[in-house]
C-alpha cells in the first residue's frame, strides 16, 4: 500500500521535502514512528494531530491505498 505524506513547518524542514510517497503499514502510529526515526522529527506522536485526505482523524483511522496523510505539528496562527 502506498500513501503520500505531507510535511509542514518544522516537520518539512526536518524532512527536507514538502511531501513523499511511501509504501506503508496501515497503521498511522507505526508510519509516524518510522518517519520520526528516519528524519529525526523532534515531536512525539502525542504532540501531533493527524489528517487523512484533508480531514482531521484519530490515530486509529485505517489507511487506504493512495491516502494523503499529514502530521500536524502544534499550530501558531493568529
Amino acid at each position: 500500500m502506498t500513501v503520500t505524506v505531507l510535511y509542514f513547518a518544522a516537520l518539512r524542514d526536518a524532512a527536507g521535502c514538502a511531501s513523499e510517497q511511501l509504501a506503508t503499514p496501515a497503521d498511522l502510529s507505526t508510519l509516524y514512528a518510522g518517519l520520526r526515526a528516519r528524519h529525526g522529527f523532534s515531536f512525539e506522536a502525542r504532540s501531533l494531530r493527524v489528517a487523512v485526505d484533508g480531514e482531521f482523524r484519530d490515530w486509529s483511522h485505517a489507511l487506504a491505498d493512495g491516502a494523503e496523510v499529514a502530521f500536524i505539528p502544534p499550530v501558531s496562527g493568529g
Binding site: F8, A9, A10, S42, A51, P73, V75, G77, G78
Partner: protein
C-alpha cells in the same frame, strides 16, 4: 459565501465589515492581530505564515459555523494571511455581528482563540537581535505561546 478565508496578500477591511452590517446587528466586535516588533523578548524583523491550505479553510469554516451555533450572533467572518508579512501588517481579522454586545464580544474572542488553537497555520519568525538568533517555527507545545 465562505466565512473563513486565507489571503496570500494584504486585504482590505471595509468590504469585510460591510458584510456584517444588517438592521438586526446592534453590535459589531472586531479583532485584528498584527505583526508586532517583538515576541518573547526578541526583536522581530518579519514573519511568514505557512498553511495547510485545504485543511485550514475547512477547519476555519468549522470554527465559524460552530460560533454561529454557539452564540446569539447574526454572522461572523475571519481572514488569515499566509506568506511573508512585515511588522505592522495584519495577520488575522475576525468580525462578529450580533443584536447585543455580550454575544458579539464573546463570539469574537472565542473565534480567535479557536483559530489559533485549531487551524493548521504556522508562524515562522525572523529576528533582528544583535545576538543573531536563528529564524524559527513557532510550535507552541515546545515554547508556550505568549499570545498575540
Amino acid at each position: 459565501m465562505a466565512r473563513f478565508r486565507l489571503a496570500d496578500a494584504p486585504f482590505d477591511i471595509p468590504p469585510l465589515r460591510a458584510r456584517l452590517e444588517s438592521p438586526r446587528a446592534g453590535a459589531i466586535a472586531v479583532f485584528e492581530g498584527r505583526v508586532r516588533d517583538h515576541h518573547a523578548g526578541r526583536q522581530v524583523a518579519g514573519l511568514r505564515y505557512e498553511a495547510y491550505a485545504a485543511l485550514a479553510e475547512k477547519e476555519g469554516e468549522a470554527v465559524l459555523a460552530e460560533a454561529c451555533a454557539r452564540f446569539a450572533i447574526e454572522d461572523a467572518a475571519c481572514v488569515h494571511r499566509a506568506g511573508e508579512l512585515a511588522i505592522g501588517e495584519m495577520a488575522v481579522w475576525v468580525g462578529v455581528a450580533a443584536a447585543h454586545r455580550d454575544a458579539a464580544f464573546d463570539a469574537c474572542r472565542w473565534i480567535i482563540d479557536e483559530v489559533k488553537a485549531r487551524v493548521p497555520i504556522w508562524k515562522h519568525e525572523r529576528y533582528a537581535d544583535d545576538a543573531g538568533a536563528p529564524a524559527a517555527w513557532l510550535h507552541p507545545l515546545d515554547a508556550p505561546p505568549a499570545g498575540t
